[in-house]
Amino acid sequence: MSAADAIRAEATLPRSNGELVFEEPWQARAFSVAVAMTEAGRWEWDAFRDRLIAEIGAWERERDAAGAAPDDGTWSYYARWTAALEAALCEHGLIDPAELDAVQARIAHQQAHEHDDDHDHGALRDRGL
């Protein structure tokens, strides 16, 4: 192995810095929807960023008012992002909270049924069927 190959093999490559880009799939969706809306010209990136700053600021003020530590375990960057996304979509008149609530209730209902199905299949498998 040449010295250069050894470096390639041993050095910490930027790609393998070890952290996942997104911790959970919903975070990737939240990120990508906001970017896609910007790319589609639905809003300027700055407008979304201002909402994000407002959401993060509100969370920090609430934390400070509660006298909690800077990272008290309740921090979720993409939760703030999602709140900013919802606010920006409502502000731009693209969705309204009531119809969003309705869709959420429908999805929650569907998810509950999916879980029922899982249990049924599991029970069948347990009986060797």
């Binding site: 390639r8 050095a11 810095n17 910007t38 994000l52 960057y77 969705i95 869709v103």
Partner: protein, 195 residues
């Protein structure tokens, strides 16, 4: 339901509603997600840094107009329009943060690591940069001055780390592997070559 499950459900509803209303398609969202999960990452920034280490004229152009110089290497894109490159020297070390949210040169480094977005990093990077850098694993000489750059929607910063000692014989493509993501944020240094 946990807070995390709740926000995951909310996000699912937001996307579903946008698709139902014909505002977005899931293909468009998939494409954005795939780009940032697989195609855009700190390797882009590492190529820029390695070129600057080996090509003096490029380095000068990069410090003069980061965005234009990076475009020569095909690096740029969404929210990387105004990137200012700040150069580390033996006297001065640069550190990048975003105190208000999480602005970051996405087009060059991909998405920021979790700690970059944390309330603690954002609050402390400006107040006590030396301690933050130490906690992230690098002890800077006491005489090195630290400059902290606060990103904004308009301006993103990329640190040009110092080329490590003992790399004179290395070609550009071999230097790329020494350029860590953290060295381009300023919370670390470029890696030393393996002896």
């Amino acid at each position: 339901m946990s807070d995390n499950d709740e926000v995951a459900l909310r996000m699912r509803a937001i996307e579903a509603l946008l698709i139902e209303k014909g505002i977005l398609t899931s293909e468009v969202v998939d494409r954005v997600a795939s780009t940032y999960e697989h195609d855009v990452g700190p390797l882009r920034g590492a190529r820029v840094v390695a070129r600057a280490w080996t090509d003096e004229a490029f380095r000068a152009r990069l410090l003069e107009d980061g965005t234009a110089a990076m475009a020569e290497l095909g690096v740029g894109g969404f929210v990387a329009e105004h990137v200012i490159v700040v150069e580390n020297t033996p006297d001065t070390h640069n550190l990048v943060t975003c105190t208000l949210c999480s602005c970051y040169p996405w087009g060059v480094l991909g998405l920021p690591p979790a700690w970059y977005k944390s309330p603690e990093y954002r609050a402390r990077a400006i107040r006590e940069p030396r301690a933050v850098i130490r906690e992230l694993g690098t002890e800077l000489p006491a005489e090195t001055r630290i400059r902290v750059w606060d990103s904004s929607a308009e301006v993103r910063y990329l640190v040009l780390p110092m080329r490590p000692a003992g790399t004179d014989g290395l070609a550009e493509e071999d230097l790329v592997g020494l350029v860590t993501r953290d060295s381009m944020i300023g919370t670390g240094l470029a890696a030393e070559p393996v002896a």
